[in-house]
Subunit: 346 residues, 4 copies
């Protein structure tokens, strides 16, 4: 599915460039009756916020989410929820030097080829700034999932190839050298019901993969044992089923909670690799929009590693995807339709 919308029943549409007046999201298909206030977004937005530590940019992004519609007397009404986040701190001047040069590792050249024009201020639509709108949408999805006992946790597990806890020296060095580092995020969905996802194109893993790769800088995704399964035997990789307190579960979880596109009820495990931040201050070879070779040094405030702030984006996209898949699943059995509508008296 192309464009700026994601989801079938629970659907988010984001808009906005990093250097326009604001960015935002329209969340359509949110069920009526959910208590929702602007405070619900705060913990999520905080996790995406730069914390001025060595892993983050020096910018401060006062990302307060305003609710413009869809909530009445503190409760969602079932109509689209329009969320707006001001771009308080734009500093357009920082970016003027790159207007006519294609930054390596960025979408600049593809963007220009596709559209003929390009909003060169800080990456425009391709900026990581866009993900703030997703995180706001994910906060709503997460709140609904908690009603079904589902929780999602997302964390950086490695930076530059080192375990996250040990990576600080590496990062300081990279920053000192005007360089950046790759990273890896692990996301776990706990409390999943079994039976979510469709057997063919609508596989839960297909849908999650679309969601995760729609986040900028993602270069790989593993589900469960992922890449390791290519070197495994069936007898090692298959998860035996067993009964526990009347519930059927898998004894191990090599599959990462999904078999044949449908959830098993085990934890869904996603492992996501992010490439190093492409904006680096070391000189790089590139060309300008006329094709002339030139050098570029990208200054300004850029995170030297993407994972720490992107972990919550992974979580948000997982939440939106799983909620939508669960909603789509409510019509899988005729008995559910019958229970919902029964025969009417007329």
């Amino acid at each position: 599915m192309a464009g700026s919308s994601f989801g079938t029943i629970f659907r988010i549409t984001t808009w906005g460039e990093s250097h326009g007046p604001a960015i935002g999201a329209v969340v359509d298909g949110c069920p009526a009756g959910l208590p929702l206030s602007e405070d619900d977004f705060t913990p999520f937005m905080e996790r995406r916020r730069p914390n001025a530590g060595p892993m983050s940019t020096a910018r401060r992004e006062g990302d307060r989410v305003q609710i413009l519609s869809g909530v009445f007397e503190g409760m969602t009404t079932g109509t689209p929820i329009s969320l707006l986040i001001q771009n308080a701190d734009q500093h357009s001047a920082d970016y003027s030097a790159i207007a006519s040069v294609f930054r390596p590792g960025h979408a600049d050249f593809g963007f220009r080829t596709k559209y003929g024009v390009r909003d060169y201020r800080g990456g425009g639509r391709s900026s990581g700034r866009e993900t703030a709108a997703r995180v706001a949408g994910g906060a709503i999805a997460s709140k609904i999932l908690r009603e079904a006992g589902i929780t999602i946790r997302s964390e950086v597990v490695s930076v530059g190839g080192e375990p996250f806890a040990e990576a600080l020296p590496l990062l300081k060095k990279a920053r000192a050298e005007g360089d950046s580092l790759g990273s890896e995020v692990l996301c776990t969905v706990h409390g999943m019901p079994a039976g979510i996802g469709d057997p063919v194109f609508g596989k839960l893993d297909a849908y999650l993969a679309e969601a995760i790769f729609s986040i900028g800088a993602v270069k790989s995704l593993d589900i469960g044992d992922g890449r390791l399964t290519a070197s495994m035997k069936g007898s090692e990789n298959n998860d035996p089923f067993r009964s526990e307190n009347g519930r059927i579960i898998t004894e191990t979880n090599h599959c990462g909670g999904i078999l044949g596109g449908i959830s098993t009820g085990g934890d869904v495990i996603l492992r996501v690799c992010f490439k190093p931040t492409p904006s680096i201050s070391r000189p790089q070879k590139t060309v300008d929009t006329d094709g002339n070779e030139t050098d570029i040094e990208i200054h300004g405030r850029h995170d030297p590693v993407i994972g720490p702030r992107a972990a919550v984006v992974v979580e948000a996209m997982a939440a939106i995807t799983i909620l939508d898949a669960m909603m789509l699943n409510m019509t899988a059995k005729l008995s559910s339709f019958r229970a919902f509508y029964g025969p009417q008296e007329h």
Copy 2:
């Protein structure tokens, strides 16, 4: 996008179970004017066909594709192309033993939880058999892509952790032990135009990821340097741009042909890991549909490794995805709309 359809403009809908009378695909949105005959499918179907070698099942699947609509006088008409493949060799009897048992590594349990009922004959809709319909659709997409100079190549690069060329002894051993092996497929799209894909949810890599993970048994996807980028520095991972014969290209291709969701014009590189075939004849622990613990041995004809026959499925899904993304891209610039429609005289 849920269900049994994939694609926005060029859209494939597949149907059929492994043990019904037939399977098939409806290909909608195929442009008019493409020469198409049943022979066009043969080379693709042959690559998916079991070759009775040590890497394949003993079944023979005479997968002749019948065209039921959408082609007139040897040419596509722009209307939906209905493709039908008979299930000649069904052997339902082989599968009766598994009717009330959940096979480890299969969708059986999720399927049963989701739908309440399950066509237990050979996996039903979740069978790899379904992918024959995708390969037929991919044959059409590939033929159109060749009009734009785009070729896709897909090959198994490793089996059970060994390079493909060296894996035969491993495979023989696994088969002798009633076991199976994982594998890895590399898919390369050559001749891509730059500028394909959308910057946000419609990223070309997001769309490809959805396509690839919709293939059964896929557990990981890497684009370009993929997982390796998590351990790289920005200065190592960024691909410098340069001019060559008036065309802007990247000097290296760590990014795998996609930056910020949009194609660079370099080769698109996909690396796909398949788990080992879950159907193995070694005894496995599991439960029956009432939750009672039991053992299962799965006999019958199953490929001991998935990659060799699935490589062409990866290629088919890549072709469908890229063609659809290219079609969606034709309206990105106002100048294209203007050139197509110009002002009419009335």
Copy 3:
């Protein structure tokens, strides 16, 4: 939504030309657990069948519907249901004369302009024959709706401006003159639950209008009092609410069961006008594909009036639309989501 598919959750995709080997439909999103056999289609297909009376063509269309997938042991499985109807009686020879001429009142010219090529045999994809596939899909939707106590009735109310019961002489005269007549169909949905439909673009009437106008030859649709409301006062047109046995209903039903896009629980009333059959044997002025002026007389077997056989098509499209809207509605309230998923124990 463009193309050959209709519906979001319960989705039908049709394929096939009038003169190919077969036509068919793929019905995706049908809930699992519905008893379904080929006999379920018979009464619907019979109503679409030409009865050789004065209102119909002399062709006989043995429209037996074959189920190729999605049903196991007499029950739907939740996977796509592929339906196939053979084209037994094709008589291609009858149509050869019109290959290079644009028939007035037909899509020939638009089709040729759009696609560059055209399957000229009997209208190809634009033939009324395509609607047989919709009727088959509608039979499934109707069977599900009956589970909720919903019944749909569709009947011709006028032909050539006369009440249907009095129109026979008019029709005989038209047929004798090589001419055809328009008609009007009334469709009533009884037993509707209140609350179906969305307030903005997903209005139930918008969705029904799309469905009805997707039937060939439809030129107008009225909902409830329809066109008459343009001449009414608010005090005449508004339907007062009242309570009856604890249920809130409207005292009158000027609105035709839909207010603000959402069902009231009253009968949904659709009035559909069909233009006269465009294929007439009287000579008509037209041009050939090179633009040269010419005369055309269309012989062959054509219904002299469309409504009698199209009534069941209206009913089928109404059934598909209402079922899909009801399915989409199941996630409108958070309390429904909560009741379905509750919190899981893990």
Copy 4:
């Protein structure tokens, strides 16, 4: 298509209630390179604005459209265009009396049944106010259509059954009696290219019908001769083709510019009937949310007739629909794909 979005390639998503802080639209899929400023919206918004004449409400709606994204240096960039319109003049107090009563002719009861909760302030999401966002989107679509020489004109032709020019006395009387009147709008699309629309579910008329019936208070739609064709003969209704200056056209236009779902190149003619404004100050019988019978008198500022302000909404929806259909049409022929992409040199 459900929900708050409309369109496949050129897609509008609206949000907002009449009494929230603002309403808005996100226009996705707008081609890059269109000059666009806030002034482009003014003439469209002015036509929707109440003019304080006898046909309109006394409210003043300073509907200035703010562009929040998607435009850079005066030009669209291909990214989503977020449009915001403040709700300056909300007067919530006027509506408090209706909070617990279902207004006849309104969506209140259906809304409450569907969602369980309801924003009762002035109709909330079901308010005509929502259409301001559509008109803003339609202004963009219209500007693009003019690039192809297409113009759309929409006008009220009758009010209360009288020709518009003669209806003023009728209206004054209705208003004096606390009543309202129905109306009829005629919309003409001039300069259409032939070949737009799909032959089956994606018929241009089906798509237009969905668009038009998604406007509140619409109760009927006629295309071309519409309802009249039910009383016509084929020989009267068929439009002969002829050549004129090398272009094939229809001599008459009974069909309203569409045959078999595909445009003929003639003017597209839509005739739309609006019911009388349901908000009237005369006492009406109804029930409250507990089902108790009660009387209601609706005071406040309501247009006594809908057509005059809704004509531009019809025009906007027609523009969005036709533009999207034209974009979808650009891939109908393989030759167009080939011309766009040609073979690449690599």
